[in-house]
């Protein structure tokens, strides 16, 4: 049996087409019971699988609870909502492909975003290409929003604002703090955090005595920690993700870098930080847009963070993180916009999303003209009982922050 090479190639082209066409037939628009179909590509496997799972659970819970109460109000009708979720494997290219599939083959009405800077960048470009509005819960890079796109909104505050609240809190506690050391991960998100905080430090009259970038995924920051130690900082900031935040803390303890306060952009805001570091996590500050204990009051299906947290825990067995809250916030944004517009037409929804200004269990839902949410980050701290508590801003915090952090050998 001799295969002609070209015939084989034809076969392969056809196979690729067939694989792509294995999608179910596009849903026929139902006329009597009205349904709004949302589409989302979320990382259920791969590097950000955990956060993707949180997001997916948030989406699913909201759909269930909202449909129980009649769904979305579109004009005079009550429409049920549903979501079609694909796994983008934490991969930006796959995310783009899947969003394209959702729009062109599954014919969804509106889009919800993925989790992770890369996937959000890709997916939003496709949303813009097809002119379908997308609200995303997992991309905080401001560059996502400075592309002049009309179709992207995000419920995570801009990366550049992350550490500002932490600095505000430290200065409120100790106006005499002067010297700051900053560790920056070589990553788009972390770089934006650093780019946002560096001018802010100058504005507040603080002295950046050490600022250095380390390669992403590095196994060893002991040289940086050593160099920072030599400069005697009052407090240490980290523009990082979870793994490197843990690494910096561990090696700071090893090398003996002490500071009155520690704050990281990502890391201490997740429960894994406390599990991984145990007692060493005490006193460390993190920033987050939401915790179950923040004192928000909202005009949405859940109302307060506590109620949302209880519903989530009852359904999934663990307390929700801010990823799930952010995911539900995207849905609420759509809900409010659709109800105000009285339709699911992209143009109308877009207009209403731009005008949105409503309190929710997630805080105030209001977007800047570029599409990113305008919301201050809250500060959390790991207290001496091994719990993560919110400590700032004062009006929504549960507890007063612990300051200063004692040196490592005196704990």
């Amino acid at each position: 049996m001799k295969l002609h090479l070209s015939a084989l190639f034809c076969l392969l082209v056809v196979m690729s087409l067939a694989a792509g066409c294995m999608a179910p037939a596009p849903a026929a628009a139902p006329s009597k019971p009205c349904t709004i179909t949302f589409g989302a590509a979320v990382s259920l496997t791969g590097a950000t699988a955990k956060e993707g799972e949180y997001v997916k659970n948030g989406y699913n819970m909201f759909i269930e609870d909202t449909n129980k109460q009649g769904g979305f109000k579109v004009g005079k009708q009550q429409c049920t909502i549903s979501v079609k979720i694909y796994d983008d494997e934490s991969n930006a290219d796959t995310s783009a492909k899947l969003i394209e599939k959702l729009v062109t083959e599954d014919k969804v009405n509106l889009l919800l975003g993925p989790y992770g800077t890369g996937p959000v960048f890709s997916a939003s470009a496709i949303a813009e290409k097809y002119d379908v509005p997308m609200v995303e819960p997992g991309g905080a890079g401001i560059k996502i929003f400075t592309r002049g796109f009309k179709n992207v909104w995000g419920t995570l505050p801009a990366a550049g604002t992350y550490l500002k609240s932490a600095v505000d809190m430290i200065l409120a506690k100790d106006p005499s703090a002067k010297n700051v050391a900053l560790f920056i991960e070589n990553d788009s998100f972390s770089q934006e955090v650093a780019d946002g905080i560096t001018p802010y430090l100058k504005e507040k009259g603080l002295n950046l005595v050490y600022s250095e970038q380390y390669p992403k995924g590095t196994k060893d920051v002991s040289s940086l920690v050593t160099a920072a130690k030599a400069k005697n900082p009052d407090f240490v900031l980290g523009a990082s993700h979870l793994a490197d935040a843990e690494l910096v803390v561990k090696q700071a303890k090893d090398i003996g870098l002490n500071a009155k306060a520690w704050a990281f952009s990502v890391g201490p805001s997740t429960p894994e930080f406390g599990t991984a570091l145990g007692k060493d996590s005490t006193y460390i500050l993190g920033v987050t847009p939401w915790t179950p204990a923040m004192k928000f009051q909202g005009q949405d299906i859940y109302g307060t963070p506590l109620k949302f947290s209880e519903a989530f825990k009852a359904k999934y067995g663990y307390e929700p993180s801010y990823h799930s809250a952010s995911a539900v916030a995207t849905f609420i944004a759509f809900q409010k916009a659709i109800e105000a517009a009285g339709s699911v037409e992209p143009k109308a929804v877009r207009e209403q999303l731009g005008k949105l200004d409503v309190p929710t269990f997630y805080g105030q839902l209001k977007f800047a003209p570029e599409g990113i949410i305008v919301k201050p980050m809250g500060v959390v701290q790991w207290d001496t009982d091994g719990k993560m508590v919110s400590v700032w801003p004062k009006d929504i915090a549960e507890k007063d922050p612990l300051y200063p952090a004692p040196p490592w050998d005196k704990r």
Partner: protein, 365 residues
């Protein structure tokens, strides 16, 4: 006495020297048949976008075509020269960055920017290649891996961030076809990028075909078979290798440029991801390194398998989470049973299952 004139090998001959079984096939009378079949495939691919396929399918095909170009580009240095480069993603990233910077800072049109992006990658290949190509075999392979890592670090470093915006990446101008909007604009966009990708495939295959008939091509194969003998024959091995490396970089850079404009943004962690190199190498090896169409076919197969694993649910099991594991197993099996790639099938007179066992017997301890 008149017949004592020694037979010198005529390297200027236009008749292609058979270098592998597959190329020998192309050079015989079956030429017409194969060229005809290729023409048919080409026509099919050309009219595909107008057959009202969904944007998703067009995009998937475009991805497959780009993979084919990357595989074919690797073929120049890996297949024909026998130098297994593991760092081609460096050229991909540089092409992407070159295109992005030219389009955003200097507002150059896309095709010019993509071309110059490719040239940037080529120049880099020449600079880096001169020292690195001195090494052989495994040293070369890992050295190129190191080049890719170092390039990524360099491009995203604070020292160069005024030019490259460091790790935060660059946003390219969005492709908005004049006078169109909504679905029509989206379709036009998909079609445009599809045709550019097709153009790249045609270009790289033609370049490979030209190579097999050129003096450079013979030099490369000579280097692959026995580098020292090649040197003794008077071939300037250094420049031949650098030329192959540069060709490889040029096409890989072009693909990077296409990707940048297509995706509308570039992040260093995306465009310097080692995944791109590996996919290219695997496709080339799968299809048959050192052949003209092997890598292109390999790219098609690899993409089909990958798409299949992402989207289908055979027997209701969601394979998504095992996608990469299965690819890993697939790689291992191909390597063990089919180390010379799919092109192996075409060089043999008789196909049988024994072929696989023979491959293994040749290579086992």
């Amino acid at each position: 006495m008149s017949n004592l004139k020694p037979e010198t090998p005529n390297l200027q001959s236009k008749k292609p020297m058979p270098v592998t079984r597959w190329d020998r096939l192309l050079g015989t009378r079956r030429n017409a048949v194969y060229l005809g079949a290729c023409a048919v495939v080409l026509v099919v691919l050309l009219i595909l976008p107008h057959m009202s396929l969904s944007g998703f399918v067009l995009t998937s095909l475009t991805t497959a075509l780009l993979l084919a170009v990357r595989a074919q580009a690797w073929n120049f240095i890996g297949g024909y020269t026998g130098y297994a480069a593991f760092g081609n993603v460096a050229f991909y990233g540089l092409g992407a960055y070159g295109t992005a910077i030219l389009m955003t800072k200097l507002h150059w049109p896309f095709f010019l920017a993509m071309l110059v992006g490719g040239l940037v990658a080529t120049v880099y290949a020449v600079i880096v290649g001169l020292p690195v190509l001195r090494m052989r075999g495994q040293y070369f392979a890992i050295a190129t891996l190191g080049v890719a890592e170092a390039t990524r670090e360099l491009v995203s470093s604070p020292q160069l961030s005024r030019l490259t915006a460091g790790p935060t990446g660059i946003n390219l101008p969005f492709f908005r076809p004049a006078g169109l909007s909504g679905a029509a604009a989206a379709e036009a966009g998909s079609i445009f990028f599809y045709y550019v990708a097709m153009g790249l495939v045609v270009l790289v295959v033609l370049a490979t075909w030209w190579l097999t008939r050129s003096k450079l091509g013979y030099s490369l194969v000579a280097i692959r078979e026995d580098e020292d003998a090649a040197k003794m024959l008077g071939i300037n091995t250094t420049w031949a290798k650098v030329a192959a490396f540069a060709l490889s970089a040029f096409f890989t850079g072009l693909v990077g440029g296409h990707y940048a404009y297509w995706r509308t943004f570039i992040l260093p962690e995306e465009v310097f991801n080692v995944r791109y190199t590996l996919e290219g190498i695997l496709s080339a090896v799968l299809g048959g390194p050192g052949t003209i169409l092997g890598p292109v076919v390999g790219g098609g197969i690899y993409d089909a398998v990958s798409t299949f694993l992402t989207f289908s649910k055979p027997f209701g099991i969601d394979l998504g989470q095992f996608h990469v594991t299965i690819l890993g197993v697939f790689i291992v099996m191909v390597i063990v049973f089919l180390p010379r790639g799919v092109a192996d099938f075409f060089g043999r007179r008789k196909l049988s299952w024994g072929m696989f066992l023979e491959n293994v017997r040749q290579n086992r301890v």
